[in-house]
Amino acid sequence: MNRYKNIANVSFDGRELLLPLSVKVSRQSTPLPACSDSDIFPTSIQLGLPVVAVELRLRGIAGAEGLALGEAGTLAFTIGPAAGSQAGRSISIEQAVLHAIEVDYQQAALAVAVLRFAAASDGRQDPFSAEDNL
């Protein structure tokens, strides 16, 4: 069983984003329950439109501030193995659209930038993919 830690590198649209702190990838659909008038629990759960969202926190605020809202591209990052005998993992989100840039400047701590993305697709392919590094 592989475990992972230490984000090795993060890139967006081919540009490296330095000093990543965390990457949170969320894939969510809204559940749409329904039941008949003779039921008290839902008998059907359908899903609303799925959204692949990413929240990236990094200390390389210069790179973050150089981005523009609405930019789109592939967001890719690798995460290292937790132990030397295990494999790291590469994660890629296609057509990620940058929709939020927040930078938190601190008096007595390091500045942190938070970037938020939502991914589009061709409508059939999951924009999210992940695989262990061989």
Binding site: S29, A34, S36, Q46
Partner: protein
């Protein structure tokens, strides 16, 4: 599950049935200077029964076939409807049927629908 003329058209997903009020047609007459009114009962008229539910299928073709099977009952003839509680409604016309959502692709293909019957007294 509800049936229409004994056919299980709606079983792929859940649905609810809501019978609306019978309509009693009344003629009301009032006269100047007199309190009260005359009410003439013109008889019972029809009522609507509203069904809302969800249709589901593995393929778009099967879902389209389910929709077509229901639309085939929109023929101007009366049918017999039995609801989820085995309550029967006779002399029912299928007045309107339409998807309430687009034909969506999620866990298979699905759509919500609204179906309106008109029941004759």
């Amino acid at each position: 599950m509800s049936t229409l003329d004994g056919q299980h058209l709606f079983d792929s997903g859940p649905h609810t049935l809501r019978p609306l009020s019978w309509q009693r047609q009344l003629e009301r007459r009032s006269f100047a200077g007199l309190d009260g009114e005359l009410v003439l009962d013109m008889g019972m008229r029809s009522r609507q029964i509203v069904q809302q539910g969800r249709l589901q299928a593995q393929t778009a073709e099967i879902l389209q076939a389910q929709l077509a099977a229901i639309e085939a009952f929109q023929d101007g003839l009366t049918h017999a409807l039995t609801d989820n509680h085995n309550v029967s409604y006779s002399k029912v016309l299928l007045e309107s049927f339409e998807p309430a959502t687009p034909l969506n692709r999620g866990r298979g293909f699905w759509c919500d629908y609204t179906l309106t019957y008109r029941q004759l007294p």
